[in-house]
Amino acid sequence: MAQTENPSREQILERIRTGLRTVVADSPYTGSHGEIFAPINNPLERFQQECIVNLMECVLTADSAASARQFSKVLELVPQGEVFVQDDPALRRLVELAAPERPIRWSSEGAPSEASQATITLAEALIAQTGSILVTAACGGRGASVVAPCHIVYATVAQLVPDLATALRSVARQGTLDHNSFACVISGSSRTADIEKILVQGAHGPRRLVVILQTTN
């Protein structure tokens, strides 16, 4: 693709450099701060608490058989119709057990459609501090976590990190954003409070976000 023509680029950079020559009296850089966030002693407990705050569901399971049963339970409440699933061997095994009758659209067949009733994906990590899941383009694509009314995430406790700083450091260290054009920290279901500050769940994205969290690998 042709390189973008940028007639004003150098002028803007020159204006910036000229402006920065002005000496600004600043309070000295301290570089050290008090402890901004309280330490997280029990990440699992904190994650569960934050899920409640974020109005998302977190279901603990002991093993993959229990996870399959939970998937089945969640899917019972999802209206009939296609379910989009990230094409991953672990999810293939689970979905075959949990919803053998459901029409499935695998991510290898394309993006979720408007008709998808639910999406099932993995996550890169879970963040205890904010009750969040971290997904990337590798987790079924960009639309997988936002197009359908229900998003179900399958994760294990080993993926839990204590806080945002740890999660972001890991993303930077592993070059996650060099391998994925997209990443998102999702902290609850889609929502709005644009009318009289009254909270409404399910604005443009999922009304339900369910995390099936398995305590063993």
Partner: protein, 472 residues
Amino acid sequence: MTASAAQRFLQDAAVKSADLVHREIIRLGMDSYDAAHLKGRARIKDWEAARQKCQEIKREAINHLDRYLLQFEEKVIARGGHVFWASNGDEACEYVKNLATRRGVRTVVKSKSMVTEEIHLGPVLEKVGIKVWETDFGEYIVQLRDEPPYHIVTPAMHLNRGQIAELFREKLDPGIVSDDPADLMAAARRKLRQAFFTAEMGISGANFLVADPGVVAISTNEGNGRLCTSIPRIHVVVTGIEKVIPRLEDLAVLWPVLATSGTGQGITTYSTLIGGPRRAGEVDGPEEFHVVLVDNGRSQLLADAEQREVLHCIRCGACLNICPVFRHVGGHTYGTTYPGPIGSVLTPHLGGIKEFKHLSYASSLCGACTSVCPVKIDLHHHLLQNRRNATEAGATKSSERMMFRAWRSAMLQPWVYALGGWSMRKVLRVIYGMGLAGTFLDPMRVWNRHRTPVPLPSESFRARWRKSLGTN
């Protein structure tokens, strides 16, 4: 120009502050925000340390703005994205318009972006026949009303559910009966879903440009930003050059602080990072990714030793929410893209001190804005500096300059001051005695028009002072 913008402000402020329905809507909205904000702050162990950290991150970014912007640009281009540098709004709009025209774009979905409001991108695209859908629920509501956003975070906070239901009945579906916010949102969702799946281009803003990995960070609660940046085949980010931050890890404090200051949440529901177009092997995502970096007067602020820090603003809206003037006159009265204290500081730099100097006086200088700013911008002192700058630039009216000369003269000659006070008491006594307080004959009419006159003292302060010295 100066008089008309200032006069419009005064006229609109008088109307809005006397509108009891408007005041009640804003009071309820702000009460709800106040409670959520306090609760959110309590979740952060040391709020002041968080503010300090955010201030330092933004200061480092702005003080090395050229370096970080180039670092960001390099990474985006390496992933197949495009970066366009726009000196002003016209250049930015031209770029997006030409891109849309070349690619045969008929429909655009937009997520909330104050910079696109600042440069009036929507009308430019509509002029060439492109349908533009605002997809943030609040933005969609104000778009249907053909008015600008009222607030930078909650664009439709000046409307209640009844007014929105009526609007939807008129513009979307006469069959809408309920005014329940969930039902109204569902009606908008149904309409906007069609737009998401037919649009060829999605336009978003950016909360941050992260230099080190070269990604844009976008925070939304509704998921509309996610859909705008996932489904259409072209994604264009339009943002200000000051949004850059150095490192990904900086978001570990900026994201929670932005959410807490904006809505009281611990973190925004969707905190998204996008670094380019869809990569080979990815399931979906746009084929093209463009970032338009808008200067539009921002680089001039770098040379302002006192006010460079205004570029640290993360557009959380906290200063608007706490401002007693904003709470009474409302967002539209300012007549600017950015209302409230940050808008009153910034707009004279972007739009001209002559036309917008009056905004510096839309403040009680109480300092509440400064006290809540999550990046510690000294907002109320910047308002004072703008007043001074306007005077030094000769942007004040000759009558105002004359009044101050007379005042100065009186302050330097006590007998003139005393004579003035004595005369005023006599004149006001006659006017009040005749029941003419607040009429055009009353020199105090601006105050007395809406208030009971303050009782006149029988003697001057100096006379009372002398008496008091005599008795002690």
